[in-house]
Amino acid sequence: MSDSNQSTTQGAGRLFAYAPAPESRAIVDLAPSYGLFVDGEFTEAADGRVFTSVSPSSEEVLAEVARAGEADVDRAVAAARRAFGPWSALPGAERGKYLFRIARILQERSRELAVLESLDNGKPIRETRDVDLPLVAAHFFYYAGWADKLGYAVPGHPDPKPLGVAGQVIPWNFPLLMLAWKVAPALAAGNTVVLKPAETTPLSALFFADVCRQAGLPRGVVNILPGYGDAGAALVAHDGVDKVAFTGSTEVGKAIARSVAGTRKKVTLELGGKAANIVFDDAPVDQAVEGIVNGIFFNQGHVCCAGSRLLVQESVRDELLDALKRRMATLRVGDPLDKNTDVGAINSAEQLARITELAQAGEAEGAERWSPACELPSSGYWFAPTLFTGVTQAHRIAREEIFGPVLSVLTFRTPEEAVAKANNTPYGLSAGIWSEKGSRILAVAGRLRAGVVWANTFNKFDPTSPFGGYKESGHGREGGRHGLEAYLDV
C-alpha cells in the first residue's frame, strides 16, 4: 500500500534475508531401483526395460524404475480383473475400512511422502507438506466413507454397481494427489485399478503401493505401472479396461476420446486450462495480489487450473500491477526442500523448453516481459516468475496453456467485456473473480463457462468439492458425490 510511484520492486525481495531452512531428506529411504507393482508384488518389466527418475532441482538420479510395456499392461489388467470379483463382492463397510486404513497410513507417513514428492517433482516442501499430502489423506478418508453408502450417491439408483477395471493415467504436476483423486473413488465404488504415473514422477505412486501392502489391501486391487505414453495408450485401449480416467493435456485427452469411441468404456478427462483471473476495480488490492500470485505461481504454474490470464479492470491496472510486481519480487525461487521456498523447480527439461519457447513467442508477438531480479540455481530446471503486459487475446501466451510460472495480463472496462474475454478460449476449467460486490460476483460467476469459480480466493481444493472442466477442459468431475458417480455403472 506504499506509494505506487516508488520504484521498489527490484529490491523488495532482499528486505528480508532468510537463512536456508532445508527439510532433511533422511526421512526418505530411497532404494536404487523399483519395479512395477502388479498383483501385489513388485516385479520387473516383461522386457526388462528401465528408466530413471531424476530430481529436477539438481538433475540427480533418484532411482531406476521398471518401465511398463504392453505385456505388463496385459498382466496388470488381468490381475485387476481377477481381483475385481472378490473386491466388488466385499461388503461396502469392509472395503471402506481398507480405505480408512490407507488414509491413516498416509497421514502417518505424510512427512516422508512429502519429502519424496518434493524430491521427485521439484515442488516446494512447504506445498507438499501443507497442501498435497493433507489433501491426499483427506481424499481417501472422504471416499472411504462412501463405500457403504453407494445407494445414496446417485439419485434413482439405490443399488449401483461398479464398472470393473479402471485404467488411470495421471500427470506429473501433483503425482500423489492425482493418484488419490483417481484411486480413492474407484476403490470405494468397488472397482479395481491399474494406474500409470507420469514418467518424470513415478516414485510416490510406488511408495503408495507399499502403503497398500501395509494396509493389507488384497492383491491385484491396485496395480501401478510406471512408464511412458506408450504404456498409457496401451492401458487406455486395453479391452479388459471398463473405465478410463485421465488427467493431462487436452491433446492427449482428445486422442483418448477417439480411442474409446464405440467401446463400452466410461471416460472422465481432466485436461488443460487457461483460466481468467478477473480483478474488478473494487477488489481489495492486497488480497487480489495474493490470489493472483497463488493462482499462477503455486506449484510453479504447473497447474491445469492456474490463473494464467489476469484480466484487470483498466482503472486499477497500474495500481494492481505495481503491487503485483512488488509481491513477485519477494518470491523465493530455489531449493524445493527449503521450507522458505515459494517457487520450486520446473519438473523437466522438456517442460522448461516448452515454457521458454512460449515466453519467447510472447516477446516476439509484442508483449512486454518482466521478471523480478531472481538468482536461479546453476543446476536443475528453473524459470523465473514472469509477467507479460500488453497481451492481446490473439497472442499465443493468451491462448495456449503454458503450464509454467508465466502470467499474461489483459485489461477490460466493463463486466461484459471481462466475461467475453474470460470465455474466449476453448478451455473451461476454472476462473477467478475479485470484487467486494456480492451481486457482481454471483452474476459474473454465473456467466463464466468454467467448472470451478474461485471468488476472492484461488486454487482451493477439497475432496468434497467437484472439480472438472467445461468445453475442451474435459468430461466429468472428480471429487464429491460427482466424482463417485464416474466410477459407478449408472
Partner: protein, 354 residues
C-alpha cells in the same frame, strides 16, 4: 443457393422407390382405413413430388360432392421458422406398410443438407443465452405448454404415428398420450434437478462452496429411428428442460411426427432456435453435427453402432459430451440420466469472514 435448388429439383431422391401414392379422402387415412383414393400427390404444387424420377400416381377425378383435401407441405423447423431445405431437396416418406413394393406415399419431407445442419447450429447457438438464462420455473411452464399444445393435436399425431409406425389407431393414441405425459414429466424436472444433483459441499475450511448444474450449450440429437414421436420427445425434452438448445435429426424413415412437432413447439412459447428439427439422412446430417466446433454435445441414440463409433470419434475433436446409443424402452421410467448427460457442474467458492 438457387443453383442447388434447380439441380435438386430435377433429382429429388427417393427413400422408397416403389412408394405407392397416398390415399386421400378429405383427411389422411389412418392405419386400417378403407378410404378410397380420391386424390393424388400431383395435385400439390411446389412440393416437388412429381419431379424427376419420383413415382407418379395416376390422377383420379374428384367425385362430385367430395371435397379435395388440403395436404401439408412438411418443412424443417430452424430458428423458429419453417424453411424448406436450402438444397431444395426432398425425399419421399411412406407409411410402414410393406405390401406391393413398399409403403404408401405420405409426403415429401425436406432432405436437409449439411448447410441446413449448420444453419440450425447457428440458430441453436443464438438461442442459448435466452433459454439458459430463463428461470427454471419459466422453462417448466414452457415445457408444460408444449404438453398442452400436443394434447390439443392428439388426433393429428395419432394418425401420423399410426402411419409412421404401423400402429392401430388406439395404440398410436396411447403413444401420443405417453408423449404428452413425458413433456409433463420433464416440465416438472426443470426446477428440481439442480437440487437433486447440485448442492453445498462441506469443505474443510472457512468457505462457501456450492455446486450447481448448468446447461452445456448446443446439443445435437439423433432421434431414435424406431419411435417417431415418443422416442423423439423422450430424447428432446430433457435437452431443453435443462436449458440447452437442440438440433434434432428426426427418424430418417419416419420424420413426419417430428416435423409436425416443430409446429407444436412454435406455438408453445418455446423461443425460436431452442429446438431445431431436421429431416433427412441421419448419416449425412450426423457427420457435420458431430464434427461441428460450435456444438457442445451429441446424443447418438438414433445412430447404428458403426455410425455411432465414427461420430463419437469425430466428436472428440472439440471434446463434445457424447451419449452412446443403447437399448431403450420408451415406456419405462426415464430416470435422470438424460438430464444429467447435458449438464455441467459448476462449483463456486467464496471465503467466509466478517
Amino acid at each position: 443457393m438457387s443453383e442447388k435448388k434447380a439441380g435438386a429439383a430435377r433429382g429429388a431422391e427417393t427413400v422408397k422407390a416403389g412408394a405407392k401414392p397416398k390415399t386421400e379422402s378429405g383427411a389422411r387415412p389412418t392405419a386400417g382405413s378403407d378410404a378410397k383414393p380420391t386424390a393424388e400427390p400431383q395435385a400439390r404444387a411446389g412440393a416437388g413430388a412429381g419431379a424427376g424420377n419420383a413415382p407418379v400416381a395416376r390422377p383420379e377425378p374428384v367425385a362430385a360432392g367430395t371435397r379435395l383435401g388440403v395436404l401439408k407441405t412438411y418443412k424443417l423447423y430452424i430458428g423458429g421458422k419453417f424453411p424448406r431445405s436450402e438444397s431444395g431437396r426432398v425425399y419421399e416418406v411412406a407409411d410402414s406398410s410393406t405390401g406391393n413394393g413398399g409403403g404408401t406415399w405420405l409426403a415429401n419431407a425436406p432432405l436437409a443438407s449439411r448447410k441446413d445442419a449448420r444453419d440450425a447450429v447457428v440458430a441453436a447457438r443464438k438461442a442459448v443465452g435466452g433459454w439458459s438464462g430463463a428461470t427454471a420455473y419459466n422453462r417448466g411452464q414452457v415445457l408444460y405448454r408444449v404438453a398442452e399444445m400436443l394434447e390439443g393435436r392428439r388426433e393429428q399425431f395419432a394418425r401420423e404415428v399410426a402411419e409412421a409406425e404401423g400402429l392401430a389407431t388406439r395404440a398410436a393414441g396411447a403413444v401420443v398420450d405417453r408423449a404428452v405425459d413425458r413433456w409433463v414429466w420433464y416440465a416438472g424436472w426443470t426446477d428440481k434437478i439442480a437440487q437433486v444433483v447440485g448442492g453445498a459441499n462441506p469443505v474443510a475450511g472457512p468457505f462457501f462452496n456450492l455446486s450447481t448444474p448448468e446447461p452445456t450449450g448446443v446439443v445435437a440429437v439423433l432421434a431414435p429411428q424406431d419411435s417417431s414421436l415418443l422416442g423423439l420427445v423422450s430424447v428432446l425434452a430433457p435437452v431443453i428442460a435443462t436449458g440447452n438448445t437442440a438440433v434434432v435429426v428426426a427418424a430418417e424413415r419416419a420424420p413426419l411426427p417430428a416435423l409436425s412437432l416443430g409446429e407444436v413447439l412454435a406455438t408453445s412459447d418455446v423461443p425460436g432456435g431452442v429446438v431445431n428439427v431436421l429431416s433427412g439422412r441421419t448419416a449425412e446430417l450426423g457427420a457435420p453435427l458431430a464434427a461441428h466446433q460450435d456444438v457442445n454435445a451429441i446424443d447418438l441414440t438414433g445412430a447404428s453402432p458403426e455410425m455411432a463409433a465414427e461420430l463419437e470419434a469425430a466428436a472428440a475433436d472439440n471434446l463434445k459430451r457424447v451419449r452412446r446409443p443403447g437399448p431403450e424402452d420408451w415406456t419405462a421410467d426415464p430416470g435422470t440420466s438424460r438430464l444429467t448427460a447435458w449438464l455441467e457442474t459448476k462449483t463456486v467458492w467464496h471465503p467466509q469472514g466478517v
